[in-house]
């Protein structure tokens, strides 16, 4: 009997060593942690419950039958993050380069099925050379099974991908379909085809880092939502994100004790809007001063900076924030910012996270680049996302809300629940100068008359009161009391239920 117990311990010992000490040292040498070390950092201490430690592959081609490492290159199971359940898989680069075999994929599928059944998020740690080529189509079938589950789990439980090594070829499409992708600077990359293939096909010479490193994906492609300095920081920040997210689409976003007065007055917000309407200001100051404890988890900070997306808490409860950023391109909407914000809005709506929208938008960016690349349909994504979102929606207009962009930014007309405006707001079709030049085209040659018309237009429309007279603005509020008013607005919406007409699914302009 004792021998059998010893045998189990020995087998566990071997499995835990993965690809062996030498490969573990090599992994550390690259500045990377092992699959199990990463799980240690991701989950609460001693909370990990492992499955399928002894699974091995079934391939007998190319001598594969001679090496059958226990676990087959991926560690799977569940554990807790601050006491809340999550499922996790962590690919082990020390075992056959973390390559994906049929059994490796089945291990991932098993925990994904459990996560869906039990209503808990899935966190995937990716560090894999790609498909196990020796297995051929079996490996591809494995990927396909994972993809299908990513799709089915989408909108049911949050899915987070952490790229901590290579992730190339078809393998990229599993993270691509999850809700968030995080990368580690200098030690992770993602691409569909690698630098060698790129060179063969297009003659472009490019490094792996340039082609698919963290900087590329956070700044240029927007594939990744954030990048961190190293494995330790990345996993700490994933824990921090999970603290903001509900476990599944049936549960409310989490609430935690807070030490910040919801009625806190911020007198300095009264001077946030500069006197000169063309002078920018930093919208992040408003976000930080609204949020509990100035805690803001920004998503896609480095991409399309003319719009800000991320999570804050109000009265301890998660709120998603979308805000125009006047510091960048005057906060204009364009293809990138509309896509970025639309995806964020849809994530929040999937998981019942209330939405706060802060508006200072001069309109859509004009130009051939925008039109040729389809700003019509991309802009429509954000419009669509706001219109279909049934979560509590609170909007604060701080300054400009012009034209179509005004309607898009969670306006009353898109079923915004509570729409506030600061006294500095200008809710209008366009700025006074542009409007005057159209309405009074006949006077264009007379600068004095035009100036008088512009002043007249400004006096009539460059304020929130025309919109407030019509009820499009529920209330004009003092900037200093924004936190209090917004917190109370969300409190009043806690019981919101908004059924939508039955449909199989909508047809958002993708």
């Amino acid at each position: 009997m004792k021998d059998i117990l010893t045998e189990l311990e020995n087998r566990r010992e071997t499995a835990r060593l993965g690809g062996g000490q030498k490969r573990i040292d090599a992994q550390h040498g690259r500045g990377k942690l092992t699959a199990r070390e990463r799980i240690d950092l991701l989950l609460d201490e001693d909370s990990f419950e492992e499955f399928d430690m002894f699974v091995t592959h079934r391939c007998t081609d190319f001598g594969m039958e001679k090496q059958k490492p226990a676990g087959d290159g991926v560690v799977t199971g569940w554990g807790t993050i601050n006491g809340r359940q999550v499922y996790v898989f962590s690919q082990d680069f020390t075992v056959l380069g973390g390559s994906v075999s049929a059994t490796h994929a089945m291990k991932i599928c098993k925990i994904m099925d459990m996560a869906m059944q039990n209503g808990a998020p899935v966190i995937g740690i990716n560090d894999s050379g790609g498909a196990r080529i020796q297995e051929g189509v079996d490996s591809l079938a494995g990927y396909g099974e994972v993809f299908q589950r990513n799709i089915e789990a989408s909108g049911v439980v949050p899915q987070i991908s952490v790229i901590m090594g290579p992730c190339a070829g078809g393998a990229v499409y599993s993270p691509a379909m999850t809700d968030f992708i995080f990368m580690v600077k200098d030690s992770s990359y993602m691409f569909v085809t690698g630098p060698d293939v790129v060179k063969t096909v297009t003659n472009e010479v490019v490094t792996a880092e340039e082609l698919g490193g963290a900087s590329t994906h956070t700044r240029k492609s927007s594939v990744a939502d954030a990048a961190f300095e190293n494995d330790v920081e990345a996993l700490a920040e994933v824990r921090r994100l999970v603290d903001f997210l509900p476990l599944n689409n049936q549960s409310k976003p989490p609430v935690r004790p807070f030490f910040d007065d919801p009625a806190r007055i911020e007198a300095s917000l009264d001077t946030l809007i500069p006197e000169n309407p063309n002078q920018p200001y930093d919208m992040k100051e408003l976000i930080l001063k609204l949020a509990d404890e100035a805690d803001f988890y920004e998503i896609q900070e480095e991409f399309a900076k003319n719009i800000i997306t991320g999570f804050i808490r109000l009265e301890g409860q998660t709120v998603g924030v979308v805000a125009n950023q006047p510091m960048v391109l005057a906060g204009v909407l364009d293809i990138d910012s509309a896509r970025k914000a639309a995806r964020f809005v849809r994530f929040c709506d999937c998981f019942e996270i209330p939405l706060l929208t802060l508006v200072d938008v001069p309109g859509f960016l004009p130009g051939t680049t925008q039109e040729y690349n389809g700003v019509i349909k991309h802009g429509a994504k954000l419009l669509f996302a706001y219109g279909e979102a049934t979560v509590p929606k609170v909007t604060v207009i701080t300054r400009k809300a012009y034209g179509g962009a005004y309607v898009v930014m969670s306006s009353k007309h898109l079923r915004g629940d509570i729409n506030y405006a600061w006294p500095t707001s200008e809710v209008a079709v366009m700025g006074a100068k542009g409007a005057t030049e159209i309405i009074h085209r006949a006077d264009l040659g007379d600068p004095e008359k035009i100036a008088a018309h512009a002043a007249e237009y400004e006096a009539r429309f460059a304020n929130p009161f025309v919109a407030a007279e019509r009820g499009f603005i529920d209330e004009v509020i003092q900037p200093r009391s924004t936190r209090k008013r917004v917190a109370r607005a969300f409190a009043s919406l806690r019981g919101k239920k908004k059924p939508m007409p039955w449909k199989k699914h909508d047809n958002i302009p993708l």
Binding site: H28, G31, L33, E37, D40, L41, D44, E45, S47, T80, N82, G83, R84, Q85, K185, D186, F228, E229, N230, D231, V232, E233, A236, E237, R240, D243, P246, L247, S251, K252, P254, V255, R256, P257, F258, F259, D260, A267, S268, L269, D270, T271, L272, E275, Y281, D282, E285, D292, E293, A294, D295
Partner: protein, 681 residues
Amino acid sequence: MFKKILIANRGEIACRVIKTARKMGIQTVAIYSDADKQALHVQMADEAIHIGPPPANQSYIVIDKVMDAIKQSGAEAVHPGYGFLSENAKFAEALDAAGVAFIGPPKGAIESMGDKITSKKIAQQAGVSTVPGYMGLIEDADEAVKISHEIGYPVMIKASAGGGGKGMRIAWNDEEAREGFQSSKNEAANSFGDDRIFIEKFVTQPRHIEIQVLCDKHGNGVYLHERECSIQRRNQKVVEEAPSPFLDEATRKAMGEQSLALAHAVGYASAGTVEFIVDGDKNFYFLEMNTRLQVEHPVTELITGVDLVEQMIRVAAGEKLSIQQSDLKINGWAIENRLYAEDPYRNFLPSIGRLTRYRPPMEVASGPMLEAGTWHGDAPTGETGVRNDTGVYEGGEISMYYDPMIAKLCTWGPDRGTAIEAMRVALDSFEVEGIGHNLPFVAAVMDHPKFVSGDMTTAFIAEEYPDGFEGVSLSDDDLRRVAASCAAMHRVAEIRRTRVSGRMDNHERKVGSDWVVTAQGQRFDVTIAADHDGSTVTFADGTKVRVDSTWVPGQTLAHINADGTNLVLKVGKISGGFRIRTRGADLKVHVRTPRQAELAEKMPEKLPPDTSKMLLCPMPGLIVKVDVEVGDEVQEGQALCTVEAMKMENILRAERKGIVSKINAGAGDSLAVDDVIMEFE
């Protein structure tokens, strides 16, 4: 007494004057430029009059505009503050002509003290000690030696036309005087084409000590003792104190009496300051007289209890001084730190913009001003005092047009050590965000052994920080206290995280008691035992630090008592720990479980990119033009590009010879601080 006065100034000094006027029941009128529409002095005054565009030479110092404002408001008197029109005789004359009282000295006194040579002559005649020297023409080396001998060594041999150290020699004996005279003469002839030479006493270990005087229009005058202002950066005072740690009673009396003699000699009537340079042997020499209220006047008020602004107003209204010299005791010690919007880590480059956070420490009334009833405001009282003279507020703007001073923070204590300690705590409690500022620098000075011992000269900053300020490290004791505090704070924050909703019942996370703190390159393994009042933190060597604190997550200031030492930490968040600012130090403190620490040690250290071969944008701004192309060879000092920031064009030049390898920005690009503009091979 006047019913209404106008303050021809802005910023903290305008606010300061308004406070006293209000206490005296006098109505106040502020003036403001376009840049100051929302300034604090405008909000505080009973009325405010707009006087023009932002630049001071189109608003605050245009005499006609100020006179118009006076007429419009019906003010009976004008307080000029300091700077601007405060020492402008024409302004005093215009006021005279308009029958408006000037809250300052008579025009004649301003004029005679405004000129360096005249003022020195008058001072000599009044029996004030001046730097001994020979102003006439010196024939030859023999005469130079004779004169030097008479003055007494060391002497400074200077070219009359000199400047920038050229043609200047210091001689400690006859031989050096002979050589120095000859070489100065040659150098002066070559450099300036003018070989006239003069010789004066070279003051060694110079300290800047000044005497505050106060005179009425009836021939009465008192001196309110001294202020020491030796801590200066490029002739700009940074730290001031009263009294001076250097003077003895006899020297103080001599300086005070000579200052009064000078004041009387010019018919002075108001508050004024006589500045002296004092050498290591307590010989003092007249420098100049400032015929206005000094920036650093609060330290004098704090040790004497006299409200100088009130006295100035009373004198201007013709009242007789009610204070006798014998009333003026030195009571305790006061320190002033000037907080400037200057970034100490960037060679004190002015930093302007929005004050996103501005929370000065709470003012505490204490000492002579409290006793004399001259403290204005409703501050609580205490053993040590805190006074903050400011002209800004949170959400306000530090403008490019004026002096970048944010505030004058003063503390009072019964003795110097107490005043310094109160200042340390007050500086640590002072929150300023949104702009760069010199808080870390002055905090470092407050801990500098030379300052603490009082052993300083005007060369203090140049000698102690020759390469600028690069921050300070905490002492081992302070670091241990900070490490213990952070461990305790981190534990509190982690426990809160476990209280989130949606937990698995009975499988909650238990927050452990063993932690590893890393800070300033050191590692501390600690165990925390928490109780109702705080935590006892035990280090690996068995020593303990008791941390009492009511800090909760989100608070930006942590008031901590660590083993009886009061610490105030500015707390910021970083991944896995805190950014802590205290005592002039700015450090990242990580707090990890032993397992996290073990794994964190495997992480590669990422060195910051080598910026020596890059041109970084020194300020947020817009690229106006780029003067070079990739492949160009540039010489040291060559213009590389122009950045416009706040309407000012700044030309960035090559620091050394090199070849441009990459250009990352072009005209029209808007850049943030430290963005890489171009790279060199």
